[in-house]
């Protein structure tokens, strides 16, 4: 059984934020340890990429501002590059949000149902989400492939690397949704987040 200790190397703040340290699952069911471990590991890697993308985004827009008001090089790429960085970051962040259960639904109704039904419905909701992202991944591949034949406005690059954000993010979201579904099995509402609503 995986011990949910905040001092564990791979389990610190993220899991604590999800409230798991306060109320671990009642049962030690097969696959839970694997799901919790890999959900967290993948999420940490994604969040590292997110931090890098956000830092690049900040620097890129600063460069655009400095160029516009001081250097006047009239660079045409910072604006387009910033948009694509934002799209990559925002879409990748979906999987981080899934891992941490940041995406919140209306719980007033389902929260009043008996625990068995509630968990069943929440598992169903997770399954629908999983199917949604698998669909997006499947349709995103030809979309991204088509982008390699279209020229972007920056560096003479194609749109392929930027369009790839859709299938890549959908793939990560699918994997994360599968692991999170296995980790929580509809019990996440019974372990309320300690963190306030993000938005």
């Amino acid at each position: 059984m995986l011990r949910l200790n905040p001092n564990d190397s791979f389990l610190s703040e993220p899991i604590t934020e999800n409230g798991l340290t306060d109320a671990p699952p009642e049962k030690d069911y097969p696959g839970w340890e694997f799901a919790a471990l890999w959900s967290d590991r993948i999420n940490r890697a994604v969040e590292l990429i997110l931090a890098i993308l956000m830092a690049l985004l900040v620097l890129d827009v600063w460069l655009g501002v400095i160029d516009r008001y001081y250097f006047r090089w009239q660079l045409d790429w910072p604006e387009a590059f910033a948009r694509y960085l934002m799209i990559w970051a925002a879409l990748l962040a979906i999987s981080a949000g899934i891992a941490r259960r940041d995406h919140i639904g209306l719980m007033s109704f389902v929260g009043r149902l008996p625990i068995g039904i509630r968990r069943g419905l929440l598992i169903f909701a997770d399954l629908v989400t999983l199917v949604l992202f698998i669909y997006l991944f499947v349709t995103g591949i030809p979309f991204a492939a088509g982008g390699f034949g279209r020229e972007a406005m920056i560096f003479g690059a194609s749109m392929g690397p930027f369009f790839t954000a859709i299938p890549a993010a959908a793939f990560l979201a699918s994997v994360q949704m599968f692991l999170t579904l296995l980790r929580d099995l509809g019990s996440h509402v019974d372990r309320p987040k300690r963190e306030e609503s993000l938005t």
């Binding site: 931090a51 934002m86 970051a89 925002a90 979906i94 981080a96 629908v128 669909y135 369009f163």
Partner: protein
């Protein structure tokens, strides 16, 4: 019909709203033509997010994260307390005034509610206020944040509807200040009934001056943001990036309270918040395709116009709809879904786009504190331990007053557009 059933059904079983919109959108595509439309989703998502004005949002979020982390809240609260702490219910007034100062930094109601719920509510309880009342005051003040610019909702509305974000920012200032004033009025009126404490002494001029100097650098932030944008010097996105630079400068150089290691978490948190909002925008572009294809906005406009053609009645219907839907749904999702649906209606009665935008934003902000799912109520409940029901009861007079402000600005176009017109953003 099937799309509506899927939408409502999935919402009821607790599926996150962004994913519900996506699933309903895909069902909508299938209902249009089997599998023939299914391939368009990725391009709809990419095109929907590929808007430069959206960039302002993560930057404003990041600036707010940094300002929060470097301890700006305490400075602003101290200044507000020095100014109005002398009156009966001084801490309640301070709470409201600090919300006004805070509004220029974050633009997030829940951030305001969380910050003040942790700091001001315990201080108010210690000073003799009832906890439910302290929470109600904090909730009422929290919506000033996203009303006075910068405001994430205004960025989304402006970007999606092609309306000047700077104009919306200008239009948000007066309603935000009006909400603060009427809420302070409610505090005064209910002061004796609630037996609100009176401070033993008011701050001296020297103390007010000292706290002012202490918070001056923070108070510059909204001046930089608004001055730059309204003066036409910088775009909202550029202003937001400058706000981040200024927040880093304050925390790293002036206050020296910024822990650079924490910046990593701030960047991640900003990305996560952006992701939560953008997934709604992304999927709304799929559902939006179905809505447009089925001519739902036109049908809604026609249906409402059959009820009445009186502009005031139509505005009242729109406001009521937003307030009611805001009780049960995430406000970002409502804005993204309903703004395109309701815009033909507002256009048909000759409502200026900025005026329509500020009505949407105000109504949705107010719905942040209406039960059963008002986000601010839940944030306050979770950080203070007070029940949502008890907060809601004490909140009721504030809610009524804010709805009155909303209707005043909705019905009086000249007042609502006074600042946008003064800065040349509206006719």
């Amino acid at each position: 019909m099937i799309v509506a059933v899927v939408f409502v059904g999935l919402i009821l079983i607790g599926m996150p709203i962004g994913f519900v919109i996506g699933a309903a959108g895909v069902v909508g595509l299938i209902s249009l033509g089997g599998t023939s439309f299914l391939a368009i989703s990725p391009s709809r998502i990419f095109a929907g997010l590929d808007l430069f004005p959206f960039l302002a949002m993560p930057f404003f979020i990041l600036a707010g994260e940094i300002m929060n982390a470097v301890g700006i809240t305490q400075r602003l609260v101290a200044f507000a307390q020095a100014l109005v702490g002398r009156f009966r219910g001084g801490l309640a007034h301070s709470n409201m005034l600090a919300s006004v100062f805070f509004a220029g930094l974050t633009g997030s109601a829940t951030a305001d509610a969380a910050a003040f719920g942790r700091t001001l509510v315990p201080a108010m309880v210690k000073a003799g206020y009832r906890r439910d009342y302290a929470c109600a005051v904090t909730a009422a003040g929290s919506i000033i944040g996203p009303t006075i610019p910068p405001s994430g909702l205004m960025v989304i509305y402006g970007s999606l509807m092609g309306v000047s974000i700077a104009g919306l920012f200008a239009a948000g200032i007066l309603p935000g200040l009006a909400i603060a004033v009427v809420c302070m009025g409610i505090i005064v009126i209910g002061g004796k009934r609630e037996n609100l404490p009176v401070a033993e002494r008011g701050a001296t001029f020297a103390e007010i001056w000292a706290t002012f100097k202490h918070s001056l650098t923070a108070l510059f932030m909204p001046i930089i943001i608004l001055g730059g944008i309204l003066g036409g010097i910088v775009t909202p996105t550029e202003a937001a990036s400058i706000a981040v630079a200024y927040a880093l400068f304050l925390g790293g150089v002036i206050y020296r309270t910024l822990v650079w290691r924490d910046l990593y978490q701030m960047l991640i948190r900003t990305a996560r918040i952006t992701g939560v909002i953008f997934v709604i925008i992304a999927f709304a572009n799929i559902l939006g395709f179905w809505l447009t294809f089925e001519r739902i906005p036109q049908a809604v406009a026609q249906a409402v116009l059959t009820l009445s053609e009186n502009p005031y009645v139509i505005i009242a219907i729109i406001v009521a709809l937003l307030l009611v839907v805001g009780m049960i749904m995430d406000i970002t999702a409502i804005l993204i879904l309903l703004a395109p649906v309701l815009t033909p209606l507002t256009a048909s009665i000759g409502l200026e786009p900025i005026h329509a935008g500020i009505i949407f934003v105000l109504a949705l902000n107010i719905s942040l504190m209406t039960p059963p799912v008002g986000a601010c109520l839940f944030v306050l409940s979770s950080v203070t331990g007070e029940t949502v029901e008890r907060i809601s009861i004490k909140l009721f007079p504030f809610l009524l007053a804010q709805i009155a402000v909303l209707f005043a600005f909705a019905f009086m176009e000249d007042v609502a557009l006074a600042l946008p017109r003064a800065f040349g953003f509206a006719n």
